[in-house]
Protein backbone atom coordinates (compact mmCIF):
# COMPACT_ATOMS: atom_id res chain seq x y z
CA UNK A 1 0.00 0.00 0.00
CA UNK A 2 1.48 3.33 -1.10
CA UNK A 3 -0.82 5.54 0.93
CA UNK A 4 1.23 7.59 3.39
CA UNK A 5 -1.42 9.44 5.32
CA UNK A 6 -4.74 11.24 5.42
CA UNK A 7 -4.38 15.00 5.70
CA UNK A 8 -7.15 17.19 7.04
CA UNK A 9 -6.57 20.81 6.00
CA UNK A 10 -8.65 23.46 7.75
CA UNK A 11 -9.41 26.71 5.97
CA UNK A 12 -10.63 29.64 8.05
CA UNK A 13 -11.22 29.76 11.77
CA UNK A 14 -11.50 26.43 13.62
CA UNK A 15 -11.56 26.18 17.41
CA UNK A 16 -8.19 25.13 18.77
CA UNK A 17 -7.95 21.37 19.14
CA UNK A 18 -11.30 20.72 17.42
CA UNK A 19 -9.90 18.46 14.72
CA UNK A 20 -7.37 16.74 16.96
CA UNK A 21 -10.24 15.20 18.95
CA UNK A 22 -11.39 13.16 15.96
CA UNK A 23 -8.00 12.03 14.64
CA UNK A 24 -7.92 8.70 16.46
CA UNK A 25 -11.36 7.69 15.20
CA UNK A 26 -10.51 8.58 11.61
CA UNK A 27 -7.22 6.71 11.85
CA UNK A 28 -8.96 3.64 13.30
CA UNK A 29 -11.52 3.47 10.46
CA UNK A 30 -9.01 3.64 7.63
CA UNK A 31 -5.90 2.23 9.34
CA UNK A 32 -3.84 5.09 7.91
CA UNK A 33 -2.05 7.84 9.91
CA UNK A 34 -4.00 11.11 10.01
CA UNK A 35 -2.46 14.58 10.07
CA UNK A 36 -3.98 18.02 10.39
CA UNK A 37 -2.73 21.34 9.15
CA UNK A 38 -3.98 24.78 8.35
CA UNK A 39 -4.34 25.95 4.77
CA UNK A 40 -5.02 29.30 3.16
CA UNK A 41 -7.37 30.11 0.30
CA UNK A 42 -9.01 33.40 -0.63
CA UNK A 43 -12.57 32.17 -0.30
CA UNK A 44 -14.00 35.31 -1.89
CA UNK A 45 -13.11 33.72 -5.26
CA UNK A 46 -15.66 30.97 -4.55
CA UNK A 47 -18.40 33.15 -3.11
CA UNK A 48 -21.68 33.40 -5.00
CA UNK A 49 -23.30 36.71 -3.98
CA UNK A 50 -26.69 35.67 -5.35
CA UNK A 51 -26.77 32.57 -3.16
CA UNK A 52 -24.63 33.96 -0.34
CA UNK A 53 -22.82 30.62 -0.28
CA UNK A 54 -19.53 29.14 -1.46
CA UNK A 55 -19.25 26.98 -4.57
CA UNK A 56 -18.37 23.44 -3.44
CA UNK A 57 -17.54 22.22 -6.94
CA UNK A 58 -14.92 24.92 -7.45
CA UNK A 59 -13.48 24.45 -3.98
CA UNK A 60 -13.17 20.70 -4.53
CA UNK A 61 -11.35 21.32 -7.82
CA UNK A 62 -9.03 23.78 -6.05
CA UNK A 63 -8.22 21.31 -3.28
CA UNK A 64 -7.57 18.62 -5.88
CA UNK A 65 -5.27 20.78 -7.98
CA UNK A 66 -3.35 22.57 -5.23
CA UNK A 67 -3.25 20.28 -2.24
CA UNK A 68 -3.86 16.67 -3.37
CA UNK A 69 -1.15 14.11 -3.92
CA UNK A 70 -1.09 10.50 -5.09
CA UNK A 71 0.16 9.25 -1.74
CA UNK A 72 -2.22 11.22 0.46
CA UNK A 73 -5.99 11.46 0.85
CA UNK A 74 -6.69 15.16 1.36
CA UNK A 75 -9.83 16.56 2.92
CA UNK A 76 -10.39 20.32 2.92
CA UNK A 77 -12.45 21.52 5.88
CA UNK A 78 -14.34 24.79 5.74
CA UNK A 79 -16.46 26.81 8.14
CA UNK A 80 -18.56 28.41 5.40
CA UNK A 81 -21.85 27.34 3.82
CA UNK A 82 -21.21 25.22 0.71
CA UNK A 83 -23.46 24.69 -2.29
CA UNK A 84 -23.29 23.01 -5.65
CA UNK A 85 -25.22 24.57 -8.53
CA UNK A 86 -28.03 22.05 -8.45
CA UNK A 87 -28.48 21.79 -4.67
CA UNK A 88 -29.36 24.36 -2.04
CA UNK A 89 -26.50 23.21 0.20
CA UNK A 90 -24.10 20.35 0.82
CA UNK A 91 -22.31 19.09 3.92
CA UNK A 92 -19.42 17.93 1.79
CA UNK A 93 -18.39 16.07 -1.33
CA UNK A 94 -15.45 14.08 -2.60
CA UNK A 95 -14.03 12.40 -5.67
CA UNK A 96 -15.16 8.77 -5.60
CA UNK A 97 -12.06 6.61 -5.27
CA UNK A 98 -10.06 9.82 -5.75
CA UNK A 99 -7.47 11.82 -3.88
CA UNK A 100 -9.51 14.59 -2.29
CA UNK A 101 -12.74 15.79 -0.77
CA UNK A 102 -14.22 18.73 1.09
CA UNK A 103 -16.55 19.14 4.08
CA UNK A 104 -18.07 22.06 5.89
CA UNK A 105 -18.80 22.40 9.59
CA UNK A 106 -21.10 25.38 8.91
CA UNK A 107 -24.36 23.46 9.16
CA UNK A 108 -23.22 21.01 11.82
CA UNK A 109 -23.71 23.08 14.98
CA UNK A 110 -26.94 23.17 16.97
CA UNK A 111 -26.90 26.97 17.09
CA UNK A 112 -27.37 27.07 13.32
CA UNK A 113 -30.84 25.61 13.90
CA UNK A 114 -31.70 27.76 16.94
CA UNK A 115 -30.96 24.97 19.40
CA UNK A 116 -28.74 25.19 22.50
CA UNK A 117 -25.05 24.66 21.80
CA UNK A 118 -23.82 21.11 22.38
CA UNK A 119 -20.11 20.67 21.75
CA UNK A 120 -20.23 16.87 22.01
CA UNK A 121 -22.87 16.58 19.30
CA UNK A 122 -21.03 19.12 17.16
CA UNK A 123 -17.74 17.20 17.34
CA UNK A 124 -19.57 13.94 16.73
CA UNK A 125 -21.12 15.34 13.56
CA UNK A 126 -17.74 16.60 12.32
CA UNK A 127 -16.23 13.16 13.00
CA UNK A 128 -18.97 11.44 10.99
CA UNK A 129 -18.83 13.92 8.12
CA UNK A 130 -15.04 13.67 7.85
CA UNK A 131 -15.11 9.85 7.84
CA UNK A 132 -18.02 9.87 5.37
CA UNK A 133 -16.28 12.08 2.78
CA UNK A 134 -12.99 10.23 3.22
CA UNK A 135 -14.95 6.99 2.71
CA UNK A 136 -15.88 8.23 -0.77
CA UNK A 137 -12.21 8.87 -1.56
CA UNK A 138 -11.62 5.24 -0.59
CA UNK A 139 -14.18 4.17 -3.20
CA UNK A 140 -17.22 3.74 -0.96
CA UNK A 141 -20.66 4.69 -2.23
CA UNK A 142 -23.65 5.45 0.01
CA UNK A 143 -24.65 2.52 2.19
CA UNK A 144 -28.16 1.35 3.03
CA UNK A 145 -27.17 0.19 6.52
CA UNK A 146 -28.94 2.69 8.83
CA UNK A 147 -26.07 2.90 11.29
CA UNK A 148 -23.19 2.92 8.82
CA UNK A 149 -21.33 6.22 8.54
CA UNK A 150 -21.57 5.92 4.75
CA UNK A 151 -25.34 6.23 4.85
CA UNK A 152 -26.42 9.31 2.92
CA UNK A 153 -27.35 12.26 5.15
CA UNK A 154 -29.19 15.29 3.91
CA UNK A 155 -30.09 16.75 7.32
CA UNK A 156 -28.12 16.94 10.58
CA UNK A 157 -30.76 14.68 12.09
CA UNK A 158 -29.69 12.03 9.59
CA UNK A 159 -26.08 12.46 10.68
CA UNK A 160 -27.12 12.08 14.34
CA UNK A 161 -28.91 8.82 13.62
CA UNK A 162 -25.92 7.01 12.20
CA UNK A 163 -22.75 5.84 13.88
CA UNK A 164 -19.25 7.16 13.11
CA UNK A 165 -18.13 3.65 12.09
CA UNK A 166 -18.02 1.89 8.73
CA UNK A 167 -20.23 -1.20 8.59
CA UNK A 168 -18.58 -4.56 7.86
CA UNK A 169 -19.56 -4.47 4.21
CA UNK A 170 -18.13 -1.00 3.64
CA UNK A 171 -14.99 -1.86 5.56
CA UNK A 172 -14.51 -4.84 3.26
CA UNK A 173 -15.02 -2.63 0.20
CA UNK A 174 -12.40 -0.02 1.07
CA UNK A 175 -10.12 0.59 -1.90
CA UNK A 176 -6.57 1.65 -1.18
CA UNK A 177 -4.39 3.13 -3.92
Amino acid sequence: MNLENITLISFGYFEKGLLEIILDDVEREFSVPVKTREGYLDLSDYYDPARKQYNGNELLKEIESRFASDKIKTLGLFNVDLFIPILTYIFGQAFLNGRSGIASIYRLSNERYGIKKDQTIFVDRIRKEVIHELGHTFGLIHCSNPTCVMRSSTYVEDIDQKDHLLCGKCKANLIFF
Partner: protein, 446 residues
Protein backbone atom coordinates in the same frame (compact mmCIF):
# COMPACT_ATOMS: atom_id res chain seq x y z
CA UNK B 1 -26.41 -7.57 -5.82
CA UNK B 2 -29.27 -5.33 -6.91
CA UNK B 3 -29.20 -4.04 -10.47
CA UNK B 4 -27.53 -0.62 -10.80
CA UNK B 5 -30.04 1.99 -11.92
CA UNK B 6 -28.72 4.12 -14.75
CA UNK B 7 -29.30 7.86 -14.96
CA UNK B 8 -28.75 10.17 -17.91
CA UNK B 9 -28.24 13.84 -17.03
CA UNK B 10 -29.01 16.30 -19.80
CA UNK B 11 -28.07 19.92 -19.15
CA UNK B 12 -26.15 22.52 -21.12
CA UNK B 13 -24.45 23.83 -17.95
CA UNK B 14 -21.32 21.89 -17.15
CA UNK B 15 -21.45 22.78 -13.45
CA UNK B 16 -24.94 21.31 -13.16
CA UNK B 17 -23.91 18.13 -14.96
CA UNK B 18 -20.83 17.78 -12.74
CA UNK B 19 -22.80 18.39 -9.55
CA UNK B 20 -25.47 15.84 -10.36
CA UNK B 21 -22.90 13.38 -11.67
CA UNK B 22 -20.91 13.48 -8.42
CA UNK B 23 -24.05 13.29 -6.30
CA UNK B 24 -25.44 10.22 -8.06
CA UNK B 25 -22.09 8.46 -8.34
CA UNK B 26 -21.78 8.68 -4.55
CA UNK B 27 -25.20 7.08 -4.34
CA UNK B 28 -23.98 4.14 -6.41
CA UNK B 29 -25.92 4.83 -9.61
CA UNK B 30 -24.53 4.44 -13.12
CA UNK B 31 -24.43 7.97 -14.49
CA UNK B 32 -23.81 9.47 -17.93
CA UNK B 33 -24.09 13.09 -19.04
CA UNK B 34 -25.07 14.86 -22.24
CA UNK B 35 -24.75 18.57 -22.91
CA UNK B 36 -27.69 18.79 -25.29
CA UNK B 37 -30.85 16.98 -26.33
CA UNK B 38 -29.47 15.69 -29.63
CA UNK B 39 -26.55 13.95 -27.93
CA UNK B 40 -28.88 12.60 -25.24
CA UNK B 41 -31.22 11.10 -27.83
CA UNK B 42 -28.36 9.45 -29.64
CA UNK B 43 -27.09 8.02 -26.32
CA UNK B 44 -30.58 6.75 -25.57
CA UNK B 45 -30.70 4.93 -28.88
CA UNK B 46 -27.51 3.02 -28.22
CA UNK B 47 -27.80 2.56 -24.47
CA UNK B 48 -30.67 2.19 -22.06
CA UNK B 49 -31.18 4.53 -19.12
CA UNK B 50 -33.92 4.03 -16.56
CA UNK B 51 -34.04 7.69 -15.50
CA UNK B 52 -33.44 10.81 -17.58
CA UNK B 53 -32.95 14.08 -15.71
CA UNK B 54 -33.27 16.87 -18.25
CA UNK B 55 -33.13 20.63 -18.17
CA UNK B 56 -36.09 22.30 -19.80
CA UNK B 57 -34.14 25.19 -21.33
CA UNK B 58 -31.34 24.15 -23.60
CA UNK B 59 -30.01 25.59 -26.85
CA UNK B 60 -31.40 23.75 -29.87
CA UNK B 61 -34.00 21.21 -28.85
CA UNK B 62 -35.58 22.05 -25.48
CA UNK B 63 -36.42 19.63 -22.68
CA UNK B 64 -40.11 19.32 -23.56
CA UNK B 65 -39.41 18.41 -27.18
CA UNK B 66 -36.78 15.94 -26.02
CA UNK B 67 -39.29 14.46 -23.55
CA UNK B 68 -41.71 13.76 -26.43
CA UNK B 69 -38.97 12.10 -28.47
CA UNK B 70 -37.79 9.98 -25.54
CA UNK B 71 -41.36 8.84 -24.93
CA UNK B 72 -41.69 7.86 -28.58
CA UNK B 73 -38.45 5.87 -28.23
CA UNK B 74 -39.27 4.17 -24.93
CA UNK B 75 -42.73 4.61 -23.50
CA UNK B 76 -41.73 3.48 -20.01
CA UNK B 77 -38.76 5.87 -19.61
CA UNK B 78 -38.81 7.97 -16.49
CA UNK B 79 -38.04 11.55 -17.41
CA UNK B 80 -37.67 14.25 -14.76
CA UNK B 81 -37.70 17.80 -16.02
CA UNK B 82 -35.58 20.43 -14.25
CA UNK B 83 -35.92 24.15 -14.60
CA UNK B 84 -34.55 27.30 -13.05
CA UNK B 85 -37.73 29.22 -13.86
CA UNK B 86 -40.83 27.30 -12.87
CA UNK B 87 -44.12 28.28 -14.43
CA UNK B 88 -47.36 26.43 -13.93
CA UNK B 89 -47.90 26.18 -17.69
CA UNK B 90 -44.60 24.45 -18.44
CA UNK B 91 -44.99 22.16 -15.43
CA UNK B 92 -48.46 21.10 -16.56
CA UNK B 93 -47.24 20.64 -20.14
CA UNK B 94 -44.29 18.50 -19.01
CA UNK B 95 -46.54 16.27 -16.92
CA UNK B 96 -49.09 16.03 -19.74
CA UNK B 97 -46.32 14.95 -22.08
CA UNK B 98 -45.43 12.11 -19.73
CA UNK B 99 -42.75 13.54 -17.43
CA UNK B 100 -42.45 11.62 -14.16
CA UNK B 101 -41.87 14.82 -12.17
CA UNK B 102 -40.92 18.43 -12.50
CA UNK B 103 -38.40 20.16 -10.22
CA UNK B 104 -37.08 23.66 -9.77
CA UNK B 105 -33.33 24.25 -9.52
CA UNK B 106 -31.67 24.39 -7.08
CA UNK B 107 -33.30 21.67 -5.01
CA UNK B 108 -32.76 20.55 -1.45
CA UNK B 109 -30.50 17.48 -1.26
CA UNK B 110 -33.34 15.66 0.41
CA UNK B 111 -35.75 16.48 -2.43
CA UNK B 112 -33.30 15.06 -4.94
CA UNK B 113 -32.86 11.86 -2.94
CA UNK B 114 -36.65 11.50 -2.59
CA UNK B 115 -37.17 12.14 -6.27
CA UNK B 116 -34.72 9.48 -7.36
CA UNK B 117 -35.93 7.07 -4.69
CA UNK B 118 -39.52 7.47 -5.97
CA UNK B 119 -38.40 7.01 -9.55
CA UNK B 120 -36.41 3.90 -8.57
CA UNK B 121 -39.45 2.54 -6.75
CA UNK B 122 -41.53 3.12 -9.87
CA UNK B 123 -38.96 1.26 -11.98
CA UNK B 124 -38.91 -1.68 -9.56
CA UNK B 125 -42.72 -1.77 -9.51
CA UNK B 126 -42.91 -1.76 -13.30
CA UNK B 127 -40.36 -4.57 -13.53
CA UNK B 128 -42.01 -6.54 -10.74
CA UNK B 129 -45.37 -6.09 -12.44
CA UNK B 130 -44.03 -7.46 -15.70
CA UNK B 131 -42.43 -10.43 -13.95
CA UNK B 132 -45.60 -11.16 -11.95
CA UNK B 133 -47.76 -10.98 -15.06
CA UNK B 134 -45.49 -13.43 -16.81
CA UNK B 135 -45.40 -15.60 -13.72
CA UNK B 136 -49.18 -15.71 -13.47
CA UNK B 137 -49.44 -16.77 -17.08
CA UNK B 138 -46.71 -19.32 -16.62
CA UNK B 139 -48.14 -20.89 -13.49
CA UNK B 140 -51.80 -21.07 -14.42
CA UNK B 141 -53.03 -24.33 -15.86
CA UNK B 142 -50.05 -26.34 -14.65
CA UNK B 143 -52.65 -28.36 -12.77
CA UNK B 144 -54.14 -29.22 -16.18
CA UNK B 145 -51.47 -31.89 -16.47
CA UNK B 146 -53.68 -34.74 -15.36
CA UNK B 147 -53.42 -38.48 -15.45
CA UNK B 148 -52.61 -41.55 -13.37
CA UNK B 149 -51.79 -43.76 -16.32
CA UNK B 150 -48.34 -45.27 -16.50
CA UNK B 151 -47.52 -43.22 -19.60
CA UNK B 152 -48.50 -39.97 -17.90
CA UNK B 153 -46.74 -40.85 -14.66
CA UNK B 154 -43.59 -41.41 -16.68
CA UNK B 155 -43.94 -37.92 -18.18
CA UNK B 156 -44.50 -36.40 -14.72
CA UNK B 157 -41.45 -38.22 -13.41
CA UNK B 158 -39.37 -36.92 -16.32
CA UNK B 159 -40.61 -33.38 -15.67
CA UNK B 160 -39.62 -33.70 -12.03
CA UNK B 161 -36.15 -34.96 -12.79
CA UNK B 162 -35.39 -32.44 -15.53
CA UNK B 163 -36.94 -29.36 -13.89
CA UNK B 164 -34.12 -28.63 -11.47
CA UNK B 165 -31.45 -28.69 -14.15
CA UNK B 166 -30.67 -26.08 -16.76
CA UNK B 167 -30.69 -28.55 -19.64
CA UNK B 168 -32.46 -27.83 -22.92
CA UNK B 169 -35.55 -29.95 -23.42
CA UNK B 170 -37.42 -31.01 -26.52
CA UNK B 171 -41.00 -32.03 -25.90
CA UNK B 172 -42.39 -34.22 -28.64
CA UNK B 173 -45.86 -35.56 -29.16
CA UNK B 174 -48.88 -35.30 -31.38
CA UNK B 175 -50.81 -32.10 -31.65
CA UNK B 176 -53.15 -31.52 -28.74
CA UNK B 177 -51.34 -33.75 -26.26
CA UNK B 178 -50.40 -30.88 -23.95
CA UNK B 179 -46.77 -30.16 -24.84
CA UNK B 180 -47.02 -26.56 -23.69
CA UNK B 181 -48.43 -27.68 -20.34
CA UNK B 182 -45.38 -29.90 -19.91
CA UNK B 183 -43.13 -26.90 -20.65
CA UNK B 184 -45.02 -24.84 -18.06
CA UNK B 185 -44.72 -27.61 -15.51
CA UNK B 186 -40.96 -27.84 -16.06
CA UNK B 187 -40.62 -24.08 -15.63
CA UNK B 188 -42.93 -23.94 -12.60
CA UNK B 189 -40.87 -26.57 -10.82
CA UNK B 190 -37.49 -25.12 -11.75
CA UNK B 191 -35.34 -22.63 -9.84
CA UNK B 192 -36.30 -20.15 -12.57
CA UNK B 193 -39.97 -20.23 -11.57
CA UNK B 194 -39.96 -16.68 -10.18
CA UNK B 195 -38.87 -15.34 -13.54
CA UNK B 196 -40.85 -15.30 -16.77
CA UNK B 197 -41.79 -18.21 -18.96
CA UNK B 198 -41.91 -16.66 -22.41
CA UNK B 199 -43.70 -18.63 -25.12
CA UNK B 200 -43.11 -18.18 -28.83
CA UNK B 201 -45.21 -20.00 -31.42
CA UNK B 202 -42.63 -20.24 -34.16
CA UNK B 203 -45.07 -21.69 -36.68
CA UNK B 204 -47.37 -18.70 -36.49
CA UNK B 205 -44.74 -16.17 -37.56
CA UNK B 206 -42.94 -15.44 -40.80
CA UNK B 207 -39.13 -15.49 -40.77
CA UNK B 208 -38.71 -11.72 -40.43
CA UNK B 209 -41.44 -11.44 -37.79
CA UNK B 210 -39.95 -14.31 -35.83
CA UNK B 211 -36.54 -12.68 -35.93
CA UNK B 212 -37.92 -9.41 -34.56
CA UNK B 213 -40.05 -11.31 -32.03
CA UNK B 214 -37.11 -13.32 -30.71
CA UNK B 215 -34.36 -10.70 -30.79
CA UNK B 216 -36.38 -7.48 -30.51
CA UNK B 217 -35.81 -4.47 -32.70
CA UNK B 218 -34.63 -0.90 -32.60
CA UNK B 219 -36.88 1.94 -33.57
CA UNK B 220 -36.86 2.38 -37.35
CA UNK B 221 -35.34 -1.05 -38.03
CA UNK B 222 -38.20 -1.67 -40.48
CA UNK B 223 -41.52 -0.14 -41.45
CA UNK B 224 -43.75 -0.24 -38.41
CA UNK B 225 -40.89 -0.43 -35.90
CA UNK B 226 -42.16 2.67 -34.12
CA UNK B 227 -40.63 1.84 -30.75
CA UNK B 228 -37.57 0.06 -29.50
CA UNK B 229 -38.85 -3.36 -28.52
CA UNK B 230 -37.40 -6.05 -26.30
CA UNK B 231 -37.19 -9.48 -27.88
CA UNK B 232 -38.45 -12.69 -26.30
CA UNK B 233 -34.92 -13.81 -25.45
CA UNK B 234 -34.40 -10.56 -23.57
CA UNK B 235 -37.75 -10.93 -21.80
CA UNK B 236 -36.85 -14.45 -20.76
CA UNK B 237 -33.75 -13.26 -18.86
CA UNK B 238 -33.34 -15.46 -15.76
CA UNK B 239 -36.39 -17.44 -16.87
CA UNK B 240 -37.33 -19.89 -19.59
CA UNK B 241 -38.14 -19.47 -23.27
CA UNK B 242 -40.56 -21.96 -24.81
CA UNK B 243 -40.25 -22.34 -28.58
CA UNK B 244 -43.31 -24.13 -29.87
CA UNK B 245 -43.33 -25.74 -33.31
CA UNK B 246 -39.55 -25.50 -33.52
CA UNK B 247 -39.48 -27.67 -36.64
CA UNK B 248 -41.10 -24.89 -38.67
CA UNK B 249 -38.25 -22.38 -38.40
CA UNK B 250 -36.29 -21.53 -41.53
CA UNK B 251 -32.66 -22.58 -42.12
CA UNK B 252 -31.55 -18.97 -41.55
CA UNK B 253 -33.34 -18.82 -38.20
CA UNK B 254 -31.84 -22.19 -37.28
CA UNK B 255 -28.35 -20.69 -37.67
CA UNK B 256 -29.33 -17.58 -35.68
CA UNK B 257 -30.89 -19.69 -32.96
CA UNK B 258 -27.83 -21.92 -32.70
CA UNK B 259 -25.60 -18.85 -32.30
CA UNK B 260 -27.81 -17.43 -29.55
CA UNK B 261 -27.99 -20.73 -27.71
CA UNK B 262 -24.22 -21.03 -27.79
CA UNK B 263 -23.34 -17.47 -26.79
CA UNK B 264 -26.49 -16.47 -24.87
CA UNK B 265 -26.06 -13.09 -26.53
CA UNK B 266 -27.63 -11.41 -29.54
CA UNK B 267 -28.21 -8.09 -31.25
CA UNK B 268 -31.63 -6.52 -31.77
CA UNK B 269 -32.82 -6.18 -35.38
CA UNK B 270 -31.44 -2.86 -36.58
CA UNK B 271 -29.24 -2.48 -33.52
CA UNK B 272 -25.54 -2.87 -32.88
CA UNK B 273 -25.37 -3.43 -29.15
CA UNK B 274 -24.73 -6.96 -27.92
CA UNK B 275 -27.37 -8.00 -25.39
CA UNK B 276 -26.87 -10.93 -23.07
CA UNK B 277 -29.64 -12.94 -21.50
CA UNK B 278 -29.64 -15.92 -19.16
CA UNK B 279 -32.46 -18.19 -20.30
CA UNK B 280 -33.32 -21.86 -20.40
CA UNK B 281 -34.72 -23.18 -23.64
CA UNK B 282 -37.57 -25.65 -23.99
CA UNK B 283 -38.85 -26.58 -27.46
CA UNK B 284 -41.82 -28.52 -28.68
CA UNK B 285 -42.68 -30.17 -31.95
CA UNK B 286 -45.11 -32.71 -33.34
CA UNK B 287 -42.65 -33.71 -36.06
CA UNK B 288 -39.83 -36.20 -36.00
CA UNK B 289 -36.81 -33.91 -35.77
CA UNK B 290 -34.35 -36.76 -36.14
CA UNK B 291 -35.82 -37.68 -39.53
CA UNK B 292 -35.78 -34.01 -40.49
CA UNK B 293 -32.06 -33.93 -39.61
CA UNK B 294 -31.45 -37.00 -41.77
CA UNK B 295 -33.29 -35.35 -44.67
CA UNK B 296 -31.26 -32.16 -44.21
CA UNK B 297 -34.33 -30.12 -43.21
CA UNK B 298 -33.11 -29.37 -39.69
CA UNK B 299 -29.55 -28.57 -38.61
CA UNK B 300 -27.89 -31.44 -36.84
CA UNK B 301 -25.83 -29.17 -34.53
CA UNK B 302 -28.98 -27.31 -33.46
CA UNK B 303 -30.82 -30.57 -32.92
CA UNK B 304 -28.13 -31.86 -30.54
CA UNK B 305 -27.95 -28.49 -28.79
CA UNK B 306 -31.70 -28.60 -28.15
CA UNK B 307 -32.18 -32.29 -27.60
CA UNK B 308 -30.34 -32.68 -24.29
CA UNK B 309 -33.47 -34.19 -22.80
CA UNK B 310 -36.43 -35.47 -24.77
CA UNK B 311 -39.85 -35.85 -23.20
CA UNK B 312 -42.44 -37.61 -25.31
CA UNK B 313 -46.04 -36.83 -24.39
CA UNK B 314 -48.22 -39.83 -25.20
CA UNK B 315 -51.33 -39.48 -27.37
CA UNK B 316 -54.66 -39.82 -25.57
CA UNK B 317 -55.39 -43.19 -27.25
CA UNK B 318 -52.35 -44.62 -25.40
CA UNK B 319 -53.71 -43.59 -22.02
CA UNK B 320 -57.45 -44.15 -22.19
CA UNK B 321 -57.49 -44.91 -18.46
CA UNK B 322 -56.98 -41.16 -17.92
CA UNK B 323 -60.14 -40.22 -19.84
CA UNK B 324 -62.59 -40.38 -16.87
CA UNK B 325 -60.32 -38.14 -14.80
CA UNK B 326 -59.83 -35.72 -17.71
CA UNK B 327 -63.57 -35.63 -18.44
CA UNK B 328 -64.31 -34.91 -14.81
CA UNK B 329 -61.69 -32.15 -14.78
CA UNK B 330 -63.01 -30.48 -17.96
CA UNK B 331 -66.62 -30.67 -16.78
CA UNK B 332 -65.69 -28.88 -13.55
CA UNK B 333 -63.55 -26.35 -15.42
CA UNK B 334 -66.25 -25.37 -17.93
CA UNK B 335 -69.16 -25.48 -15.47
CA UNK B 336 -67.26 -22.94 -13.36
CA UNK B 337 -66.27 -20.75 -16.30
CA UNK B 338 -69.81 -20.83 -17.76
CA UNK B 339 -71.37 -20.28 -14.35
CA UNK B 340 -73.38 -23.49 -14.53
CA UNK B 341 -74.24 -25.92 -11.70
CA UNK B 342 -72.00 -28.95 -11.38
CA UNK B 343 -72.73 -31.58 -14.07
CA UNK B 344 -71.93 -35.27 -14.45
CA UNK B 345 -71.64 -37.62 -17.43
CA UNK B 346 -73.72 -40.69 -18.24
CA UNK B 347 -71.86 -44.01 -18.00
CA UNK B 348 -72.69 -44.86 -21.62
CA UNK B 349 -71.34 -41.54 -22.85
CA UNK B 350 -68.13 -41.98 -20.88
CA UNK B 351 -67.73 -45.49 -22.25
CA UNK B 352 -68.05 -44.19 -25.82
CA UNK B 353 -65.46 -41.52 -25.10
CA UNK B 354 -63.07 -44.21 -23.89
CA UNK B 355 -63.54 -46.05 -27.19
CA UNK B 356 -63.08 -42.95 -29.36
CA UNK B 357 -59.65 -42.64 -31.08
CA UNK B 358 -59.25 -38.86 -30.46
CA UNK B 359 -56.92 -37.90 -33.32
CA UNK B 360 -56.91 -34.37 -31.88
CA UNK B 361 -55.97 -35.77 -28.45
CA UNK B 362 -56.80 -33.91 -25.23
CA UNK B 363 -57.57 -30.69 -27.06
CA UNK B 364 -60.30 -32.54 -28.94
CA UNK B 365 -61.66 -34.09 -25.77
CA UNK B 366 -61.69 -30.71 -24.07
CA UNK B 367 -63.55 -29.09 -26.97
CA UNK B 368 -66.02 -31.97 -26.98
CA UNK B 369 -66.79 -31.55 -23.28
CA UNK B 370 -67.08 -27.78 -23.61
CA UNK B 371 -69.57 -28.22 -26.47
CA UNK B 372 -71.53 -30.84 -24.53
CA UNK B 373 -71.93 -28.48 -21.58
CA UNK B 374 -73.17 -25.73 -23.88
CA UNK B 375 -75.71 -27.88 -25.75
CA UNK B 376 -76.59 -30.28 -22.91
CA UNK B 377 -79.49 -30.21 -20.46
CA UNK B 378 -77.38 -28.69 -17.71
CA UNK B 379 -77.46 -31.77 -15.48
CA UNK B 380 -75.88 -34.76 -17.18
CA UNK B 381 -73.85 -35.09 -20.35
CA UNK B 382 -75.44 -37.77 -22.51
CA UNK B 383 -74.40 -39.49 -25.73
CA UNK B 384 -76.45 -37.15 -27.88
CA UNK B 385 -74.45 -34.17 -26.55
CA UNK B 386 -71.21 -35.68 -27.84
CA UNK B 387 -70.40 -35.36 -31.55
CA UNK B 388 -68.68 -38.72 -31.72
CA UNK B 389 -69.73 -39.47 -35.30
CA UNK B 390 -66.85 -37.45 -36.64
CA UNK B 391 -63.93 -35.60 -35.23
CA UNK B 392 -64.98 -32.25 -33.77
CA UNK B 393 -61.83 -30.46 -34.68
CA UNK B 394 -59.30 -31.91 -37.04
CA UNK B 395 -56.18 -30.82 -35.27
CA UNK B 396 -53.94 -33.41 -36.87
CA UNK B 397 -52.90 -30.82 -39.41
CA UNK B 398 -51.38 -27.61 -38.21
CA UNK B 399 -50.90 -25.38 -41.20
CA UNK B 400 -52.96 -24.24 -44.17
CA UNK B 401 -50.44 -25.97 -46.41
CA UNK B 402 -51.08 -29.30 -44.66
CA UNK B 403 -54.81 -28.78 -44.99
CA UNK B 404 -54.50 -27.93 -48.68
CA UNK B 405 -52.19 -30.88 -49.32
CA UNK B 406 -54.57 -33.34 -47.65
CA UNK B 407 -57.59 -31.95 -49.47
CA UNK B 408 -55.95 -32.08 -52.90
CA UNK B 409 -54.78 -35.64 -52.21
CA UNK B 410 -58.29 -36.70 -51.22
CA UNK B 411 -59.84 -35.19 -54.36
CA UNK B 412 -57.19 -36.74 -56.61
CA UNK B 413 -57.74 -40.14 -55.00
CA UNK B 414 -61.51 -39.72 -55.35
CA UNK B 415 -61.21 -39.07 -59.11
CA UNK B 416 -58.49 -41.71 -59.72
CA UNK B 417 -55.88 -39.04 -60.35
CA UNK B 418 -57.76 -37.65 -63.30
CA UNK B 419 -56.22 -34.19 -63.37
CA UNK B 420 -58.92 -32.47 -65.43
CA UNK B 421 -61.79 -33.77 -63.29
CA UNK B 422 -59.93 -33.13 -60.07
CA UNK B 423 -59.01 -29.57 -61.16
CA UNK B 424 -62.64 -28.92 -62.01
CA UNK B 425 -63.75 -30.24 -58.61
CA UNK B 426 -61.18 -28.08 -56.89
CA UNK B 427 -62.18 -25.09 -59.06
CA UNK B 428 -58.60 -24.44 -60.18
CA UNK B 429 -57.01 -24.81 -63.61
CA UNK B 430 -54.92 -27.85 -64.53
CA UNK B 431 -51.61 -25.95 -64.40
CA UNK B 432 -52.33 -24.84 -60.85
CA UNK B 433 -53.17 -28.38 -59.84
CA UNK B 434 -49.96 -29.71 -61.44
CA UNK B 435 -47.99 -27.07 -59.58
CA UNK B 436 -49.63 -28.04 -56.29
CA UNK B 437 -48.94 -31.74 -56.90
CA UNK B 438 -45.31 -30.87 -57.57
CA UNK B 439 -45.13 -28.53 -54.56
CA UNK B 440 -46.47 -31.10 -52.13
CA UNK B 441 -44.78 -34.08 -53.81
CA UNK B 442 -48.11 -35.89 -54.14
CA UNK B 443 -48.14 -39.35 -55.69
CA UNK B 444 -50.95 -41.87 -56.19
CA UNK B 445 -51.18 -44.37 -53.32
CA UNK B 446 -49.78 -47.75 -54.36
Amino acid sequence: MAKKISILIVDDEESVRDSLYNWFIEDGYRVECAENATKALSMLESDSFEIVLADIKMPGMDGLEMLKRIKSLRKDSIVIIMTAFATVDTAVQALKDGAFDYVTKPFDPDDLSHLIRNASKQISLLEENEILKEKMVSLENVEDLIGNSEAMQRVLHEIESVAQSNASVIITGESGTGKELVARAIHANSPRKFFPLVSVHCGALSESLLESELFGHEKGAFTGAVYNRKGRFEMADSGTIFLDEIATISPKMQIELLRVLESKSFVRVGGNKEITSDFRVICATNRDLKTMVEKGLFREDLFYRLNVVNINVPPLRDRIEDIPQLVDYFIKKYCISMNKPAMTIETAALKRLEEFPFPGNIRELENMIERAIVVGNGKKISLKDLPLGKTVVNTSVESLDDLEKNHIFQILTKYNWNISVSAKALKVDRVTLYNKIKKYGLKPAK
